[in-house]
Symmetry: none
Subunit: 221 residues, 4 copies
């Protein structure tokens, strides 16, 4: 895949101008593409397969999305915008941060929020992860974007809780990395590798996960 633009962020905002409502055919195409990309991966899915699955002519795909690349981006970009940048914002909006007296409460809110989000967009999440891993280019282009949006928001949060004496005495970046490694790893394991319905008691699952991380990160006395 050769991404059509060098400036990923600009592309995202340009893409936003798609204020026009998608036609019924467009909807069908997107649905078909999501299904097949998630199943077989972008590179293993041909546009003709998508067209057949969507019940449209192959030309129709290109009329709307110009290239296969942009079809992928049309799926991923809205998802990325809704997920990464707001990774904390979403939390912040739904929770009154001031009332979060503990890092544990913050973490629980964050994880619950993200799990729900991924569950609501499971297939697109799968596509994104697969392509990040498979496609060095996409990964590279996403990296600064993620760093800017996630790190910049979470790091201060960590600093604050460190000051409050809630977290282990490690550099904030290290804590960040540990947190990220485990959370991200958890999401991939759970949503890309394990069977779909393995977790039954979601609340208990989050409880364990938070406990897990907290015990690893909380200040040792």
């Amino acid at each position: 895949m050769s991404l059509p633009t060098k400036n990923f962020l600009k592309e995202i905002s340009l893409q936003t101008d798609h204020s026009k409502k998608p036609t019924e055919k467009q909807q069908k195409i997107i649905e078909a593409a999501i299904k097949m990309f998630a199943e077989k991966g972008y590179a293993n899915t041909s546009t003709s397969e998508i067209a057949k699955e969507a019940g449209v002519a192959e030309g129709t795909i290109f009329r709307h999305y110009r290239t296969k690349d942009r079809l992928l981006l049309s799926i991923l970009l809205p998802f990325i915008k809704k997920s990464f940048p707001s990774i904390a914002e979403g939390v912040f909006k739904e929770i009154n941060l001031d009332q979060l007296t503990s890092f544990e409460a913050f973490l629980k809110a964050l994880i619950t929020n993200r799990i729900e989000f991924i569950k609501a967009h499971k297939e697109i999440f799968r596509i994104l992860i697969k392509e990040i891993l498979y496609n060095e280019k996409l990964k590279k282009e996403l990296e600064p974007f993620v760093i800017k949006n996630i790190l910049s928001r979470i790091l201060p949060m960590i600093e604050r809780f460190k000051e409050q004496g809630e977290l282990v005495d490690l550099p904030a970046e290290t804590i960040m990395r540990i947190l990220f490694t485990h959370l991200f790893g958890y999401f991939i394991s759970r949503f890309l590798i394990l069977p779909d319905d393995i977790v039954q008691d979601e609340e208990a699952e989050v409880e364990i996960l938070v406990n897990f991380i907290m015990e690893g990160l909380k200040k040792r006395s």
Copy 2:
């Protein structure tokens, strides 16, 4: 990719018949393929690229490996044989299990051992993970193999330590799943997503990781 055989395990043992020493060119081909598959993924790498990278004619690849599929398997199968089946065996051989009085010690030995193994074959690990995620077929064929080899060995171990009162009072399968999710997730995050040299103090890293998991899994008093 259409895997050339239905019986993955048989294929593995047949593949062992590599009694003939590989040519110099064969070595070059394998090296080039590993490099490119790890970088761009199997589906995004053409055999002509591999040939060019290896400095051989494209025909030479097919003289030795018959298909692109089998080239991939030639890389993955030896790795799988060395990694999955022995995931605990390796640990058992190097450590005197009887002396492992605690689950923590066992976990530390296991993780250290596997990290070293992956570090020694980082690129092949990347290829394997990428293809497992990207290629539903490979995943499906690997699943029973993994279940048989990993679960059957680790589960008894967990039972034992549960009986010794070291582990949280959850079903062994749940503990297993939690352990797997986090370890696997950790490996993927660390070796496929984060930059190569982010971990400097490996011993401390394992310490944190084990601590992390132990705190989450140990018996709560």
Copy 3:
């Protein structure tokens, strides 16, 4: 060549679904393929040669016929349907059988009819014969079809004329075989080996041929 189906007869009827009108390019492709297959044989003709001859892109061939195999079948199947099953039917339709008082008259009608048919499709006939000889698989798949359609129609005819005392006292199968051997042999010699225009007086030719066969087969007194 690996024929795409096991059931030749089914394939034939499926193929009939050619309800869509062929494109102009499709027509060109078929014409070019017929010309080149007849000239050089299927195996010695490359799809790129056909494309060049037809004045289309190579991809166009595969868009319409999926494989080189099916291109060949697209040419042969309609011909087979029109030729073999009706080998006698065509005769029966055009001639009032009841009025055929003699085997000689029947034979003459049959031969005249088939010669005209082959002359009208000389190139396809050549392709078919060549492939039957060259391609064991095609021959095998065609065999039961031919037996069913030809033998079952001609044998009763022979029996009838034997009863009328017109034919030599040999088993009907033997007469059938002799007839077949000579007719088929004649067609191959004439249309595949001898120059195109060697026969000038067609009527005389048939006369000689029928005479030839009749003298060999008629009842000896």
Copy 4:
């Protein structure tokens, strides 16, 4: 197939210089090639298949025969020399022509002789016919050779018997063509299309065949 020489006849005599006895490996190669060419046709048989069947290395084939073409010729040329040029000679040698008072006796001797010859070299005969039909070039190069050798010998014979009043009053060329068409057609039908062992009583078969032809060709009173 691109025949390696323009002058077929010269090639034949050059080839004769192979007075050296073939090695055991050469024998194996020739046998394997004959078997596979007869079965699948020249174009559908790869040199590596031949090598495997013969139990030699692929290089060995090329060491002895330089090209795949020449391997084919090594098989066909001796056969052609023994068959076509002597088509009558063989007859002449074995039979005392002067004693042949009738065309029928000549024909019977000729046919019996040729049937035995083909039966002794059935596979090579098949290869030759297949390639003559499949390969326009070979056919073209063989044509003058055949004309020169066959026509020049049989035509005078026909003239002679015509003068003796044994044959129908048609131009000798026409009689020749009819004879050729039927004989050649008969051989192809019998040895390439019908099953191997369909003829049980060979003597009766020849009897019928000769009768067949004679009745067609003999002088009508």
